[in-house]
């Protein structure tokens, strides 16, 4: 029983780590540009599939770095051609466009790589369990959590200590004033979008190594990521971090006792949090610090 509980808590933490990466990217884009990117899961899947195609040439480590970068590059192209047109418009347009993009991504992935799941080869030593007692925790799982922790840490350092990050935070509050201070806010939004998509691509590679690839893998993470954002408080990135881990663990633990409710529990958690704190756990409108 303890083993089972431990297994599901770790599982929950790992799934939560994916929610966090995905939700942080979504949050960055929502906060600065007001676009709710329903195609985020499509970018995630693309990151995973690119790693599958590239790893024979670059190896796992090369693919781990290059695939998210390529995904982000495609993100920048789409931002330039399409997403940019959504800024300042009714959110309905962003829903229509990014929802459409999500379908295109899914079908394009299916068309290129096929509908059946694909495995991603990870280095042998990462596939080993930590110890016979903890047979369910492989080094790979630990590695994933490590990569997520480093990326989240890196993101927070970027936002706190670089001019780019400081301008993103300022723009979250008042983009117009940022523009009068000589900052090209079109470029600021594009870079910010690129960072968000990089995080999605990275989660895709990591997820592929654990669960294999499937064209719908990103779509399944989208709803929990939105819940993570809402639970943590829209506008607060630390909130998104807490929210992602919380709903991951909650659904992991629930899976032990009532497997059929492991998804519903996220919604219940969200309702409870919103009843107690309508702005979410760390929500303070527009203050993403």
């Amino acid at each position: 029983m303890t083993q089972l509980l431990l297994f599901n808590v770790t599982n929950g933490l790992i799934i939560g780590a994916f929610y966090v990466l995905m939700a942080l990217g979504l949050s960055l884009i929502i906060n600065l540009s007001g676009v709710i990117n329903f195609a985020h899961g499509g970018f995630l899947a693309l990151g995973g599939y690119l790693a599958f195609t590239l790893s024979p040439f670059l190896g796992f480590w090369g693919a781990l770095l290059v695939s998210p970068l390529l995904t982000a590059a495609l993100g920048l192209v789409l931002e330039r051609l399409l997403i940019r047109r959504l800024y300042g418009r009714d959110p309905l347009y962003s829903l229509l466009l990014t929802f459409g993009l999500a379908f295109i991504f899914e079908d394009a992935t299916r068309f290129v790589w096929g509908a059946q799941g694909l495995p991603v080869t990870i280095p042998d030593f990462l596939g080993q369990p930590l110890s016979p007692d903890l047979f369910f925790i492989t080094w790979y799982r630990l590695f994933m959590v490590g990569v997520v922790a480093v990326s989240v840490g890196g993101l927070f350092l970027l936002l706190r200590h670089t001019r780019l990050g400081i301008r993103i935070r300022a723009g979250t509050l008042d983009l117009e004033t940022v523009s009068t201070l000589g900052v090209n806010v079109g470029r600021l939004r594009a870079l910010n979008f690129g960072v968000g998509i990089f995080l999605a691509g990275l989660s895709g590679v990591l997820a592929g190594g654990q669960l294999g690839l499937d064209p719908t893998m990103g779509a399944g993470l989208l709803m929990p990521s939105f819940i993570a954002i809402i639970v943590g408080g829209v506008g607060s990135l630390p909130g998104t971090l807490v929210g992602g881990l919380l709903i991951g663990v909650a659904s992991g633990v629930t899976a032990v006792f009532l497997p059929s409710a492991s998804e519903a529990v996220m919604y219940v958690l969200m309702a409870l949090v919103l009843l107690a704190r309508p702005r979410g756990l760390l929500g303070e409108e527009g203050l993403m610090t």
Binding site: I166, R169, A170, S179, T180, L181, V183, L287, T289
Partner: protein, 242 residues
């Protein structure tokens, strides 16, 4: 004398409402020009048209000899136009120090150390968040932020609004100081007497059009006109004059 800024027959709209009806004004280089007018006359809209935030639908804006009418705000700022907006609009979620890292600085004398020397209060509070500052400190921060652009033209929208009299004095002292440094200034103010004292030239805006323009001294001497055009009531004017 060359012109820092020249605007011609500006027609500016918010959606369908036609706010500016052919505003024209000039800021001569090295001078302080003040733009006065009643609440809702269109002063802020004029400034927004000049800095690219609400581009005019008709008319022309020329900044240091360049036609900037259709330029985005960041390019206009890049010419050396500092804008201190109405209500200060500092970044409340950032520290003072971070606020000062947002501007894309241009080379020149105004670097962070000189800013802190001019505004010691900001140096003391560099680690505090914008929302923890007093109104006066916020105004100083908003001005400091614009100075980091090393502006050749500084545009201020009601910098003394809501400040204690001592701080108002300080704000006007800064305007005078900028002029002494050779920075051209366009100043929108409710504080008519002090603006006219610091300005070389004055414009009065009414209902989206320039109703009067001339030397600031001439307007200051014409009390009846000031009351009629600048919107100051007789009591306010006399109280200010004391």
């Amino acid at each position: 004398m060359t012109e820092a800024l020249h605007a011609d027959s500006l027609h500016t709209y918010y959606g369908k409402s036609h706010i500016l009806h052919g505003v024209a004004l000039t800021v001569a280089e090295g001078t302080v020009t003040t733009l006065l007018g009643r609440n809702g006359a269109g002063k802020t809209t004029t400034l927004r048209s000049l800095v690219g935030l609400t581009p005019p639908r008709e008319g022309r804006v020329v900044v240091f000899g360049q036609d900037t009418t259709r330029w985005p705000p960041f390019r206009i700022a890049g010419l050396g136009v500092g804008y201190v907006p109405e209500g200060r609009r500092i970044f409340a979620n950032l520290t003072v120090e971070e606020n000062l890292k947002v501007p894309r600085g241009r080379p020149g004398p105004w670097q962070i150390e000189r800013i802190y020397a001019l505004f010691p209060r900001l140096a003391e509070r560099r680690g505090n968040r914008g929302r923890q500052l007093s109104g006066g400190e916020q105004e100083m921060l908003s001005i400091a932020r614009a100075l980091l652009l090393n502006p050749r033209l500084l545009i201020l929208d009601e910098p003394s609004q809501g400040l204690a009299p001592r701080v108002v004095q300080e704000v006007f002292a800064i305007v005078a100081r900028m002029r002494a440094e050779g920075i051209s200034v366009l100043l929108v103010e409710q504080n008519v007497r002090m603006s006219l004292a610091v300005a070389d030239h004055a414009y009065v805006l009414d209902d989206g059009a320039i109703a009067w323009s001339g030397p600031a001294r001439a307007l200051a001497a014409d009390e009846a006109r000031v009351q009629a055009l600048a919107g100051a009531t007789a009591e306010e004017w006399r109280a200010e004059a004391r």
